[in-house]
């Protein structure tokens, strides 16, 4: 087992533990903080895959902007720690069973998938994740979607202001 595999397993275990803690912590603020740790672990995975631009964008956009927005809303509406009504134990049990059976079913399907056997992911090498090739592809082939996404942002901003003003 070389260093890259050790880093992969460590990051994966860290991300899974933090994701489970998001679910089982009672306080919503603790959930947000655990989710930020999940996003940092996923950024570590991006760096391991040599997708450096996406790693930085993931930290800036998700851990920086979106999670701060969540924290703002939680503090704004002042949710009490124990005020969250719990679902019935039966419903929780059914939910866990549904998620677990989805996981086992898809894993057994992936295990049998012929086209995936022997395919490996390029770790630490390759240049497609760097800023230079990504910027060239973005501003040559994907200019129109890029501009349309700015219109999407504008409409989202107008919509958020409209909904929040009522």
């Amino acid at each position: 087992m070389n260093a890259l595999e050790i880093i992969f397993y460590a990051l994966s275990a860290f991300a899974l533990v933090c994701a489970i803690m998001v679910l089982i912590s009672k306080n919503p603020i603790h959930s947000v903080l655990w989710l930020i740790l999940v996003f940092f672990a996923i950024s570590g995975h991006y760096i391991l895959l040599n997708a450096q631009f996406l790693a930085i964008v993931n930290i800036i956009v998700y851990a920086g902007a979106i999670m701060v927005l969540f924290l703002f809303v939680i503090m704004l509406i002042n949710v009490k720690k124990d005020s969250e009504p719990q679902k019935q134990l039966f419903v929780k049990f059914i939910g866990v069973i549904a998620g677990g059976s989805f996981l086992t079913l898809t894993i057994s399907l992936i295990k049998q998938a012929q086209p995936l056997i022997g395919k490996t992911v390029l770790l630490k090498e390759g240049t497609i994740g760097l800023i230079h090739p990504l910027g060239k592809a973005l501003f040559n082939d994907y200019v129109v979607p890029f501009e349309i996404s700015s219109v999407l942002f504008l409409s989202a901003m107008v919509g958020a202001v409209l909904i929040g003003k009522k």
Binding site: L4, F8, A19, I20, V22, L23, P28, S31, V32, L35, V38, I42, H45, Y46, L49, N50, A51, L54, N58, V61, I66, F70, V73, I77, V79, E84, P85, K87, I94, G95, V96, A98, G99, G100, L103, I107, I110, K111, L116, K119, T120, V121, L122, L123, G126, T127, I128, P133, L134, A137, D141, P145, L152, F153, S155, A156, G159, A160, I163, G164
Partner: protein, 111 residues
């Protein structure tokens, strides 16, 4: 690293998000679980792009094969940011109307 390991890891993250959506009643936590599912899909897209890039490099094809997936991930992040702003605005409006963020209050849409 075999691609299957990445698929298993992303499926586990996605399933944790599914379980969270099914079992929690706090609207903000449900929303955060949806973000977790989006991130699992993003990581899987990047892993597949590196897989195809590795195959293309072995065959001596173009060096930039598989770059589209990373552009897709970038656009998914853009859409997710817009979606979060709208969703949180809706949650704040819902809290103002019902003084609760329990998603079971939303079943009044049924009638």
């Amino acid at each position: 690293m075999p691609i299957q390991y990445y698929i298993y890891f992303c499926l586990a993250l996605f399933s944790i998000g599914v379980v969270g959506v099914l079992t929690r009643r706090n609207a903000i936590i449900v929303f955060m679980c949806i973000e977790l599912m989006l991130n699992a899909v993003n990581l899987l897209l990047v892993a597949f792009s590196k897989m195809y890039n590795g195959i293309a490099l072995q065959n001596g094809a173009s060096v930039t094969a598989g770059i589209d997936a990373q552009i897709f991930v970038f656009f998914i992040m853009v859409v997710a940011a817009a979606e979060v702003s709208i969703g949180l605005a809706i949650i704040v409006m819902m809290y103002r109307n019902t003084h609760s963020i329990d998603i079971n209050f939303l079943n009044r849409l049924k009638n």
